[in-house]
């Protein structure tokens, strides 16, 4: 399509790209400035998040921040229990030496030579700079998953996403099949009703849905998150439009062969409607994985939190542990990025065709 022609353009034509009669129009310059700035603004924050997520807590506290995850080197020195941080200190006679800091008293730092532990120095803190090396703090990722509940949150998110998507696909494809294959009394009324529910977002009916969920005794269970959004008008609409285009002869032929209506649904129509079902599956995975407001209302106990709720709770604490939050944010966005990387075409055409997300 259009992309193919764009890809054939070589670097040479790129640099001299222009429209019309050979003059470089201001819009050509603007286009490339805008695209360059766009990359920085859209990718920059995510790159910064990923880089930061590999820094140690001490590295995160540095101001101004360093680009890459650098960690201060520390050494074991004889006679001291803990590893000591290494600094490059400028001594009184002007020589520079790598020393380990024992303790800091006000603006003076008490230091020891790691090679000769009996030599100690007193250095003003302005005359020393930390010695750093490139170090990736993988413990930011491992610790929250093991020590805190993030493993649990991850599992809950996966369960919600998978189960909800399965139910969504089943009941919406059944409804779409009913609405597209049969002529029956009340078909238009039901279609109108389905489209009508599109107008009622969850934000408008928070309290009564909470009442329904409480009556069903589902508060603080994952079902409370899974069930209310399972029937989606977007899904019915999307699948119905697609199933309407399927040839009727196929269905008639299947009926001749004495297939039951249910068999026609799952053996003939479902396989043919796969492209539309794939789009709905991707949408559903996105909705469920990213869902926030509704889970926030019905899940109040830490052991049923999803990743999104876990992150929110963690960042709301008084002593914010950013090194863990950043790493867990990366974990939360990985599935989305993977899906996007592989299925971009599906998603963009799905949105462009349905005008929904």
């Amino acid at each position: 399509m259009a992309d193919a022609t764009a890809n054939r353009v070589t670097v040479g034509t790129l640099l001299t790209a222009r429209r019309g009669n050979g003059k470089l129009h201001w819009t050509d310059i603007f286009t490339y400035l805008y695209l360059g700035f766009g990359i920085l603004l859209m990718f920059g924050p995510v790159v910064w998040l990923v880089l930061s997520s590999f820094k140690t807590p001490a590295g995160l506290l540095e101001f101004p921040p360093t680009m890459l995850p650098l960690g201060q080197i520390s050494v074991e020195v004889e006679g001291y229990d803990d590893p000591l941080p290494v600094f490059r200190a400028t001594l009184e006679d002007g020589t520079q030496k790598d020393l380990a800091q024992i303790r800091r008293i006000g603006i003076v730092s008490q230091m020891v030579d790691p090679a000769n532990p009996e030599n100690t120095y007193k250095v003003p803190i302005s005359d020393r700079t930390p010695v750093r090396e490139f170090r990736i703090a993988t413990e930011n990722y491992v610790e929250p998953l093991q020590r805190f509940n993030f493993g649990r949150y991850l599992w809950n998110s996966v369960v919600v996403t998978v189960v909800a998507t399965a139910i969504t696909l089943l009941i919406n494809s059944m409804a779409a099949y009913g609405l597209s294959i049969y002529e029956f009394r009340g078909r238009n009324a039901i279609m109108l009703f389905v489209i009508g529910t599109l107008m009622i977002p969850i934000t408008v009916i928070l309290v009564p849905v909470y009442l329904v969920v409480t009556s069903l005794d589902m508060v603080n269970s994952l079902w409370a998150v899974i069930l209310p959004g399972a029937a989606t008008p977007t899904g019915v609409f999307l699948l119905r439009q697609y199933m309407l285009t399927l040839p009727r002869d196929l269905i008639e032929a299947a009926r001749m062969d004495k297939a039951s209506e249910w068999q026609i649904y799952w053996r003939v129509v479902l396989p043919l409607a796969m492209p539309a079902i794939a789009v709905l599956a991707i949408f559903s995975i996105m909705w469920r994985w990213n869902d926030f407001l509704w889970p926030l209302i019905v899940l109040n106990r830490s052991e049923v939190y999803t990743l999104q709720l876990g992150l929110n709770a963690f960042q709301g604490e008084l002593d914010v542990q950013w090194h863990f939050i950043l790493a867990m944010t990366v974990v939360t966005l990985i599935p989305v990025v993977l899906i996007f990387a592989f299925l971009q075409r599906f998603i963009t055409t799905g949105i462009a065709n349905s005008g929904m997300k």
């Binding site: 921040p65 409804a175 029956f184 309290v207 249910w262 407001l293 462009a352």
Partner: protein, 338 residues
């Protein structure tokens, strides 16, 4: 060699994964076939529609009516039989203002502050969202190299969760964040973005535009690509200037899509909650607290859960959204009828 080993790995995976699925559908064939035997094909569409409609009924239609009923009751009990009928008291409480222009004179000033904040947010957010989506769509519609890549660059934040988006930006905007480091390196002072009401509102708007722009860009891009190329060729042959082509061809032909985008953005904007809630928590004070957060706070987080008041505020929000949806339908109809 057996025939199994000739299957490719993906085929084998499909068989393994498909087997439970096959069984599931096969087992369900028994009851469905029984119903068909009893009633013929006639009732089958209703059977297929039943689960979906049951969900809609239970989680959308019934709640919609309960919502209105709730808003006419008071007390702190959740179950309707324990609640007292108070008539329009909740609405009177919400709308009791001495001077509607000054939110502090209202009895429920948090609600009015929320409305007022939402109005400001929606006005600026939608205006700049549409503007930047249009510019981005125009740029992406040009003959540029690696267009697919650039489209992805602008689109991917749409898929990120609101919590992730908010945390990404919070990390940048903190007191010792990279943006302040940049400002300091330019010789400015650090700015405490989440302490100043104006800055907090600015970043709430900015971040929500950053996150949602790709979606609207995509719709506008589809609209741009539907404009017949002969029109541009004819204009080029006539030597029409590019500015004139934009104002006389592109914009008028894109306008129906623009309308749809504007109304969609309004509908989403009025319901703003997630990103801003995580980014600013509604603060400083109530500077970035919007209607949905008011409903959430009133109904679900306060010491005394005031479900009646939250429902009344929901009904007000619902009326606003209904009006906007009618506009959306009109805009869509205008677009599709050309």
């Amino acid at each position: 060699m057996s025939s199994d080993t000739k299957m490719t790995l993906s085929e084998r995976l499909q068989t393994v994964a498909g087997w439970p699925l096959q069984m599931f559908f096969r087992i369900l064939d028994v009851p469905f076939r029984a119903i068909q035997k009893l009633g013929g094909i006639g009732p089958m569409p209703y059977v297929f529609l039943l689960p979906n409609l049951a969900f809609f009924g239970l989680f959308v239609v019934v709640p919609l009516f309960i919502n209105f009923g709730f808003s006419l009751t008071g007390g702190t009990n959740l179950f309707p039989q324990d609640r007292v009928y108070v008539g329009t008291e909740q609405y009177e409480f919400l709308f009791n203002c001495e001077n509607y222009a000054d939110t502090t004179t209202c009895q429920e000033d948090r609600f009015w502050k929320g409305l007022f904040n939402t109005a400001i947010f929606v006005f600026f957010q939608v205006a700049f969202l549409v503007l930047f989506s249009l510019i981005t769509a125009l740029v992406l519609n040009r003959k540029i190299r690696a267009r697919g890549f650039f489209r992805a660059v602008f689109f991917f934040p749409v898929l990120l969760s609101p919590v992730v988006v908010a945390l990404i930006w919070k990390w940048i905007l903190l007191r010792d964040g990279i943006l302040n480091a940049f400002l300091v390196s330019l010789g400015f002072d650090k700015i405490l973005f989440f302490v100043s009401p104006e800055w907090a509102m600015f970043w709430a708007i900015f971040v929500s535009i950053w996150a949602h722009m790709g979606f609207y860009t995509l719709i506008l891009l589809a609209g741009l690509q539907a404009i017949p190329p002969d029109l541009y060729e004819a204009a080029e042959m006539d030597g029409t200037s590019k500015e004139r082509v934009f104002w006389r061809i592109t914009l008028p032909l894109l306008w129906p899509n623009m309308l749809v985008v504007i109304v969609l953005a309004l509908i989403k904007g009025v319901q703003i909650f997630d990103e801003v809630y995580v980014l600013t928590g509604g603060g400083p004070g109530t500077a970035t607290q919007f209607i949905v957060q008011y409903i959430y706070n009133t109904g679900f987080t306060n010491q005394v859960q005031n479900f009646g008041l939250a429902s009344a505020a929901s009904v007000v929000l619902g009326v606003m959204l209904f009006a906007l949806t009618m506009m959306q339908l009109a805009a869509t109809r205008r677009r599709d009828n050309g």
